[in-house]
Subunit: 434 residues, 4 copies
């Protein structure tokens, strides 16, 4: 059944009898006002009858906008469809007097901006969903300069959280049978250990001991939302190079004891902040256990991304700190031991303003319920590895029976779960002052 | 790729290490409190880590509940997760003083109940979505007795409106190649002209001049949301029997001039109030125009469902009014003409408290932008036809160039679009008093 | 990818520039000569260039033929494309002189009729394959009256054996998710215990302890080639009624110990003689073992179709023999015991001219390597059961370790494998004369 | 429905009770005799019961063979299952005496070797078909050294012709949505203008004016059988470089007037001689006409592969002839004109022993009904272009109304269809001696 063609087709029929923009308006460079007018029409009663046609027109115009025009549009939309502050004040006064549920309902309604309804009405075909994700990605770029856009972004985030709710995600293995366009997206989106070419990609999915899993949404067919790369191994890996090297020995996956998650990449900037990653890892663990019941350990091999800067920014430390393979290789055992102790301290004990680890990768896995298991020296000489972490990498371990307990201790008390050796290392750090 | 099996699988793994209900709690008849506790846990930080397992447990318990237990649960949920009235009052006061956007945001948050988040967290697998639709269907049954459940239902409705947004619906033709389970659902859900058995169903999809189209959601694979039955004809049909009869002459669809929508059925009680029907008809018109460009007219053949009762309830009218085929056949031409005039008046001019037509079918098509085109005498002798409308049926016509205009006139002024002959008939009605 | 539409489309292009029949020839009632001319053209060098168009024309004409015209066509084709007897004689003479492999090759070529090439050239699109199967089904009806058509039929059989080779068959479970059109075919083709309506069909696929498996060919999408109906039970069934009854107790398939094949139906008359059934049962056993490893026994519950007639035709037996339920129920224990003994003798020892069992169902299962396990009294009161076998049914048992041994003993020595009790029963038959 | 898994699974069950090779036989290096024994068993009555298991064993052993062992196996099979020459002589004698159809049938049977039945029995699962194609590819390598294998190869060819009959092929567009494994195969099999890397591949399928079509067989999912690369252009192309270059101007396919087939690659050596290419081009023309009705011309841009050698082998011609771009560029207009005239002569008039063009590409397109349209100077400087054809390329044109006529003239009289300018060029060739 040719669903897509039925759905995505906008025939001559749909465009007749509809109060669209005039041809003159459509051809000239669109401005924010024209588009805001279109949005108002889309939100009006006419929008019910002609939503499909109006939304097509919106996207046609939107895609012609350059960055400043988009910024202007977001500001205009933000202003036009925000809550009316005075209306809110009036109803709030009423509510304080009555405390009635009816007035509460009205209050709740007037206090909310119209952004959500607008976003919904722009989603008239399966193909629109990705456009909306990209639109939020545009919006995010203007946020720092325009704090007033924050409420608009919060509504985008709410709507997308609802649409990309876990029940709407499907886990798929990505492999050599996947459409080439999907693999090309994987190549493009890999953010941790960049995929240089198709040979490099093949090394990560063709061997029987290498897998990629991704989360997908039905409306974004060839676009993974997030994916994780897995190496099946016989021990916890202590460096990235052996995992990615070209002529390594491939093992029979049925002899593997360990699943190592060596790269996790979010693909859609427009889904920033929508929780996907924690679901992903747990579901992949499920699937791997089913396929290979002999697997005993589920660990990551993770970069440490903020340690280097944090050290360099410390005015009390001797400088310069090493940043190249040569410098790192040249370090004395004592110096490397000391750096490892500092890294343990940094991950386990250094907190940002919100009481959570400064390092985002650490924050992610600890927040998921994993524990910091081991630090590996001379593990990460590619890319930003030397600069970011003096080439140190971390293993976070997912112990199924501890996930919930760890997660809750982290959420309620900010406790970072660490293995005993890490605790010992951190204790020896120069930062561990009594 | 075996997506479903990966997604819907809840292995031993997922259930280990999770603070689930004790076996003793699970085996006894579940009570509302136990389930509300589960919901609180699902909404807590633990819910992040163990959402899948907790939601499975919720559904396991929910499905054991009888009607009174469900009612009790809805009341408990409604109370537990409602907005805190005093918090709202406090923030409202603050807002009135400051009128600041930050406080507005807080106000908006505290004024909203937690129901939406709860519903989202119950949707952890593709299979959950249908369960949530059924849960709302349960809720609707208790609404009349428990007006306090209305805010809860409103949130259900908002969440489902977001999830069943047009961009997530796919139009599919339902035919003899569809899975039997889907066709059985069509048989079950047909609400206007009941499908008695598979032969009857076959008559509506096998001939080349009969089609069914439905809207589907990806997570509800074999469950149509709404479907419309179409007859391709050479004139506007004036009775239902010739459309459904067994050994009628089948026409070549390429010679048809008219597409007659003779039955529209909503399938999911739990989606009551979520707009689906208006999208459906317009998209079907699109698809039909593409497949059979020679089609000129798009009309319905619709029952009138409230006319009979309205007439009988009128204390001033002579009684009894006819209710059987015999009585209707026996009527004089003048009497039938008079009844037709009254029917025209009823549909075109009688309004409910909200200013819209009393008849829901009329309200639906007029609201979609159609116009009332013709009334047909002795058209509907099956089912409730004689009792509901003295066997009169209506044709509503979808004139593509007028849809938006009609729709807007209706929305803004309550205007019911009617063809000139209907206007004349209504003018002659006994109800048309100067 | 819209493969089918690309393949099956015969555009204006394909029909231009091709020496097709004239319109006048196409419109008149086609005769055998016209079609034979078309076949000659299809086999000629032009056929290479225009095969698709010529074959479309062939099918267009063929489908207009009535039975006598088809018979005439088969006779004409048979004559036109047979081997040339004199050419064969010439080459045979040459061969006897030379005994050279080159001449052997020529001999092999001239001795073979051109039918195979003709059939191949008629198979130009996926949709043609079913037409060819139906064409052979037509041919089979004329065979008895026209023994000269036998060589043509043998070539049809060879070609279809090649095309429906095991490697081209796929096993599929047929269930409530199958397309309605496929289920309707199952309903139509069930030959043993007729399916009366969709409710009856539902009873055979909806309960968890009832399954249907079929063999399919890629080019015949909704047409099963053969299917077997399976009941999962806790003991070897001894009558058909409890299996098919409406409100029986459904069992959990994981508690079943026995898979009973209670009906096997060949669907395509045109595939008569092409081996399908023996593959089917063994593959279904494989699949069932995988799904339900606890299954211990694989048996049939089979009708006996020739026993009644064989008894009635025996001039020495007392008549009349019972033919109704009442008569069978009224028989004395001794009489029934005696009939069972005769049935055991009939199945185990009575052979047709080819040395194999007279009963075709027995021949099929024994030929597959099963053994005759048990006879059941008062087991088959529906349909032709009473007349064909005095309502006796047989269980044939597939013992995996014995299948090959049984099969080979049967093929080489005509040995019918029977369980010890059957051997005893047969020994007590009146036919067992020393 | 998990067809493949059901079909391709060979469980413990299938292997029990079957007279398989002993473990000792399986582990040692397999020899031809062991495998021939297995084949005999497969062809025996046991093969009926245990065909699946025996064939699995065959493939397991076959895949362990090195080239000499394969050669030995083919020779052994060829001898073991050939027709019995004396039997043939006996029956031939009988036939000469009787000329009866019954004896003819026997003669036809004894004259045919058993190879076809063996091949059929090796095809027990969908996955076997590709193995058989590869097995024939192996066989072809030994043919020249072992002419006695020719009859075996002829039977392979017959069986594969039957299995890869046009009705079993599906045309598919190969594009960026195809599985990566399929695209990798395209990359591997491109034989005319090699695809160097994925970027090069992308250039041939991503732009809207570039397409690849392939023929596929259901049992060889990711393996194209043959594919053709198409450029949509606005004039008949006169060189290959502009078609393949990196930053050329992409045109809107709806403005194209010409479809240029610039590369056709057979993918399966094991299908050598099975007709696929002529079907392919005509069906692609059909599909292109449907998608882009404005297309007017369907031409190839083809290499000339034998011209260079033919010229160099001519003892009467002055040597050396140019073989590099520099030498060709340096030629005088007269010299190039003379070479073009010779090329025209070579393609249009030089015939091999079978009366058909010496050049295989010419033979293919002319045999398909195309005509030689134009020769292009300095058109093919990559690969073997300069050496094979002094960089000349040919356009063959498919004129729909002439295809059948051209094809037939070629088949019956060896006539090569050429455009008038080609005729003129050929007449001016030095080879055109009166």
């Amino acid at each position: 059944m040719a669903n897509t063609s039925i759905n995505d087709f906008l025939g001559a029929v749909a465009l007749r009898g509809i109060s669209l923009l005039k041809a003159s308006e459509r051809n000239q460079k669109p401005d924010a006002n024209t588009i805001v007018e279109l949005c108002k029409r889309l939100l009006s009663s006419r929008g019910n009858a002609s939503g499909l046609a109006l939304s097509f027109q919106f996207w046609e115009l939107y895609e012609k906008l350059d960055a400043p025009a988009k910024e202007a549009l977001f500001i205009a939309i933000s202003a036009e469809f925000s809550a009316n502050l005075e209306d809110v004040a009036t109803v709030a006064t009423q509510y304080i007097e009555t405390q009635s549920p009816e007035v509460l309902k009205v209050l709740s309604a007037v206090a909310a901006p119209k952004y959500a309804e607008l976003i919904s009405r722009l989603n008239q075909t399966p193909a629109s969903t990705l456009k909306i994700v990209h639109m939020r990605s545009d919006l995010l770029r203007f946020l720092r300069q325009n704090p007033s856009l924050k409420p608009l972004d919060e509504v985008f985030s709410q709507v997308l959280t609802s649409w990309f709710n876990r029940g709407f995600l499907t886990l798929q293995e990505i492999n050599w049978h996947s459409p080439a366009i999907l693999l090309e997206n994987v190549k493009k989106y890999e953010a941790v250990h960049g995929i240089e070419n198709w040979n490099d990609l093949a090394r990560r999915i063709q061997p029987a001991d290498r897998l990629i899993y991704g989360f997908f949404h039905h409306n974004l067919q060839d676009e993974p939302l997030i994916f994780v790369e897995v190496a099946l191994t016989t021990k916890i890996p202590d460096a990235i190079a052996p995992i990615l090297e070209d002529d390594r020995k491939i093992i029979d996956p049925n002899t593997a004891t360990t699943a190592a998650f060596y790269s996790i990449s979010n693909c859609q900037e427009g889904l920033r902040g929508i929780p996907l990653g924690n679901f992903l890892i747990k579901q992949v663990v499920e699937d791997l256990k089913k396929r290979h019941p002999q697997l005993k350990e589920f660990v990551t091999l993770s970069p440490i991304v903020r340690f280097g800067k944090w050290m360099r920014d410390d005015p009390e430390l001797a400088k310069p700190l090493p940043t190249t393979k040569e410098e790192i290789d040249a370090m004395s055992p004592e110096a490397s031991k000391s750096l490892l102790a500092d890294a343990a301290w940094f991950l386990a004990s250094e907190k940002a303003a919100d009481g959570k680890p400064r390092d985002p990768v650490c924050r992610f896995h600890i927040g998921n319920g994993a524990r910091l298991e081991r630090l590996n020296w001379a593990a990460h000489f590619t890319g930003t590895g030397p600069a970011n972490s003096f080439a140190i990498m971390a293993n976070y371990k997912y112990i199924i029976d501890d996930i919930e307990k760890n997660h809750e201790a982290f959420q309620t008390a900010g406790t970072v779960a660490v293995a005993p050796p890490i605790k010992k290392q951190a204790a020896q750090s120069q930062f561990n002052k009594p």
